[in-house]
């Protein structure tokens, strides 16, 4: 295991930010890479992408190199994941493994090179989404954690927290409820609304239980976009000032 030390600023699960959570990728040593990972977590419909876009502009204006990486966006896996979701052949294990493959592809090809070059990596969701989804589907916790032992502990994790009622209203007002976001594969309810509510409630419970363990910085997602952005900038600004990060 990676050398574990007591929690420090932004540390999680006893692992220092910028280090592998578990066994890591032996052929890719990352010690001393100057870049930073800032992850924004939260369920569907909490406004993550808006916040990331605004953060990116703000950081770039200051001269930082920034890359974004987002869930299921790897070129290798995106078509397969889309295909698998549109068919009925996914089970909870293959679901979890496809996500992990997507994550590994992006980690090796986008995140690690960016860290090496001293960039700030803005992650639209990180492993916590995968951990929550796997947990809700009843996959063994130890197995999932080991699976993501190749992931790198982020320097900052912001969790945009929302309550179930607000979330339902927001999703309905924007794009409606879809099969997977509603956890219909879990057969919690026949009705999509009831299934969505039950599924998202379980997810929210998982995120909450991870908040302490992984040192999430919790933000109220019900606040106005500008207010959340301001808070993000304040905390990130402080972190960057304290760390060795300099604009490139």
């Amino acid at each position: 295991m990676t050398d574990a030390i007591p929690q420090e600023n932004g540390a999680n699960a006893g692992v220092r930010p910028g280090h592998y959570y578990g066994y890591g990728i032996p052929y890719l040593p990352i010690d001393g890479y100057p870049g930073k990972i800032i992850a924004i977590e939260g369920t569907d419909g909490v406004g993550r992408s808006t916040q990331i876009r605004l953060l990116r502009e703000w950081l770039e204006v200051q001269g930082y190199g920034v890359i974004e990486t987002g869930w299921t966006r790897s070129t290798l896996m995106q078509p397969t994941i889309e295909l698998a979701k549109s068919s009925n052949t996914l089970n909870k294990l293959t679901f979890a493994l496809l996500y992990a493959t997507d994550f590994a592809d992006r980690l090796e090809k986008e995140v690690i090179p960016a860290l090496k070059a001293g960039f700030i990596v803005l992650a639209d969701r990180y492993i916590f989404t995968a951990l929550a989804r796997a947990q809700v589907r009843g996959i063994d916790r130890t197995w999932t954690r080991n699976l993501y032992g190749f992931a790198i502990a982020p320097h900052l994790v912001f969790y945009l927290k929302i309550d179930e009622r607000t979330l339902i209203r927001r999703v309905l007002e924007s794009r409606g409820m879809n099969f997977w976001e509603s956890g219909m594969d879990l057969k919690l309810a026949d009705d999509i609304h009831d299934s969505f509510r039950a599924y998202q409630r379980s997810l929210l419970r998982e995120y909450n239980s991870m908040a302490d363990e992984f040192g999430f910085r919790v933000l109220d997602a019900k606040r106005k976009v500008e207010a959340i952005q301001e808070e993000l900038r304040r905390q990130i600004g402080e972190f960057l000032a304290e760390s060795d990060s300099r604009p490139i």
Binding site: Y23, L90, N91, T101, W143, F150
Partner: protein, 195 residues
């Protein structure tokens, strides 16, 4: 009786194919894609016949991943834990062949060596044959370790097909004789949760 082959699930075929074509797979994504393929086949092709009391013949099993992924530099402990959802086979047979025999047979078949099969992704040699020799040589060393660790039954694959088959049947017969007839496996579905 049911036969299942390594890397044959429809689910990950597209990604594996695309990745292999562009030589875009890293040791980690190579490993994870094969695990996904295995999980898919385990749940659809392996567990149902086991539950029905059938014999499943698996052409390669998790040991292939243990040997190859470790050779590619993936952490061996991680791969073992990754496959902990797999059902432990009742009998695992390893057909052992020295690397030179393996190379000779490939040359005789005059087939073009595949990029990943020859371990070209490791960049150890620009020559496919030489790369195969180095890569598969190391894979074979890993297998020797696995024989110890998992108690695999070894069959000498230098000999003729007939002789190998004879030896193979002997091992299988001995194993089946020791097992009660009409044996139905205990339910292994929630292998990950049972740990």
């Amino acid at each position: 009786m049911f036969v299942t082959e390594w890397n044959s699930s429809a689910l990950v075929k597209a990604a594996t194919k695309a990745g292999k074509k562009k030589n875009a797979l890293t040791p980690m994504t190579f490993s994870l894609l094969h695990a996904t393929d295995f999980a898919d086949r385990l749940l659809y092709n392996i567990i149902p016949p086991l539950k029905a009391g059938m014999i499943v013949l698996a052409d390669r099993y998790a040991y292939t991943a243990f040997a190859r992924d470790a050779t590619r530099g993936v952490d061996p402990r991680w791969v073992r834990e990754l496959y902990s959802f797999a059902v432990r086979p009742d009998l695992a047979v390893y057909f052992r062949v020295p690397i030179e025999v393996s190379v000779d047979r490939l040359m005789a078949r005059r087939v073009k060596l595949k990029f990943y099969e020859a371990g070209m992704d490791m960049g150890w040699s620009a020559s496919p044959i030489e790369s195969f020799r180095i890569f598969q040589g190391r894979v074979l060393e890993e297998y020797d370790r696995l024989v110890e660790e998992f108690g695999l039954d070894v069959i000498d694959a230098k000999t003729s097909i007939t002789e190998q088959q004879r030896a193979f049947r002997k091992v299988v017969t001995r194993h089946l004789a020791g097992a009660p007839e009409e044996q139905v496996e205990p339910e292994p579905v929630e292998a990950t949760e049972a740990r």
